[in-house]
């Protein structure tokens, strides 16, 4: 952990009482927070130099019944990354937007709504971003079966077995 990073985490300790820190490597740290303390933590980290939102993504933990939201913050001062993660309920996935902190989050949140079905309160722009005419479960959820969908929508090529050709390969007439 770099000095810059530990300073930021110390200040974070004043705002958020309890959080878990996992050190991934020298320049990368993951902190797990409760959903309600994510927003204060993010705004504090933004003021502490981690003002670049590299990525906002989600992970589907289907066995736990949770979606994990992952905010990756990058600092241009020391090249360190802080990964802020939180788990929200999978049944009625809703969270608050961070659009006011990073305007770019608008598009990340649109993407998450499209691919996981997570709604973000405060972000009113929830049009589909990549998919067109989507008519099934959000496709990156673990309970969505892409093979079944592909079979339903995109007909496969049917192959016929060529016995004579295979016999020729076995006999050595053709180099298979």
């Amino acid at each position: 952990m770099t000095n810059f990073m530990s300073n930021a985490l110390e200040k974070l300790n004043n705002v958020v009482k309890k959080f878990e820190v996992t050190e991934i490597d020298e320049r990368e740290v993951k902190i797990d927070l409760k959903p309600e303390s994510v927003l204060p933590a993010l705004s504090l980290l933004k003021s502490e130099g981690y003002y670049h939102l590299s990525l906002l993504s989600a992970v589907d933990w289907i066995d736990e019944g949770k979606f994990e939201l992952v905010y990756i913050l990058y600092s241009w001062n020391d090249g360190g990354k802080i990964i802020v993660s939180t788990k929200i309920s999978r049944k009625n996935p809703e969270f608050v937007t961070v659009k006011h902190l990073w305007p770019v989050a608008r598009y990340y949140e649109r993407e998450l709504f499209e691919f996981f079905g997570i709604k973000f309160e405060g972000n009113d722009d929830m049009k589909p971003l990549f998919l067109e005419n989507w008519d099934d479960l959000p496709p990156l959820r673990k309970d969505f079966d892409p093979l079944e969908y592909s079979k339903k929508k995109f007909p496969d090529r049917e192959y016929q077995k060529d016995v004579i050709h295979e016999a020729k390969i076995i006999r050595g007439d053709i180099n298979g």
Partner: protein
């Protein structure tokens, strides 16, 4: 009318057509990387009288490299219908044949000839530039013999193609968020 029937003028025209082909490459997938070596000095596609073309209005061949997502398939259908006749389609790589490694993807189609008529497939993942040039020679032979009739098939079986397109895409019309 039989699709293979050609008048004498058509036969002469086909001889000439096969010697001057302009190719519109719709590079949707990774296969696009095989085109620069085929076009440039090492394999030199132009010795066969072929050249790259930037717009569908002046192109003869629609060259589709790699997988097509439903989103790009709409644009491909637009592009194909914009091209003047006679027009030929080459499907490049196994993704256009049977989906390739994306056979179970929720976003990519598995069989291109359901949506637009394909005259020639090049199998492989990826086919080398030699295979590509071989395929171009084969296509020229097919044009000279009047076998490359995909565009006639599209006109005759338009309903069938449209039905397949609608089944997969819902609608073919392209909506553009930033220009509407």
């Amino acid at each position: 009318m039989n699709t293979n029937e050609r008048g004498i003028w058509e036969k002469i025209a086909d001889q000439l057509r096969s010697r001057s082909l302009w190719m519109l490459h719709y590079c949707t997938g990774c296969g696009a990387i095989e085109l620069p070596p085929s076009m440039t000095s090492r394999f030199d596609m132009e010795r066969f009288g072929m050249g790259p073309m930037a717009t569908p209005r002046q192109a003869d061949i629609l060259f589709i490299t790699g997988y097509l997502s439903t989103k790009t398939l709409r644009r491909v259908i637009y592009t194909y219908e914009l091209m003047p006749e006679p027009k030929y389609v080459i499907g490049f790589g196994s993704c256009t044949l049977n989906g390739g490694i994306y056979y179970d993807s929720y976003a990519t189609i598995n069989k291109l000839e359901n949506y637009i008529p394909v005259d020639l497939y090049i199998a492989g993942c990826m086919p080398r530039p030699e295979a590509l040039l071989n395929a171009f020679n084969e296509l020229m032979r097919m044009i000279r013999n009047g076998e490359a009739n995909g565009w006639r098939k599209y006109k005759e079986n338009y309903e069938w193609y449209k039905q397949n397109q609608l089944r997969t895409l819902g609608e073919v019309f392209v909506h553009d968020e930033f220009h509407e």
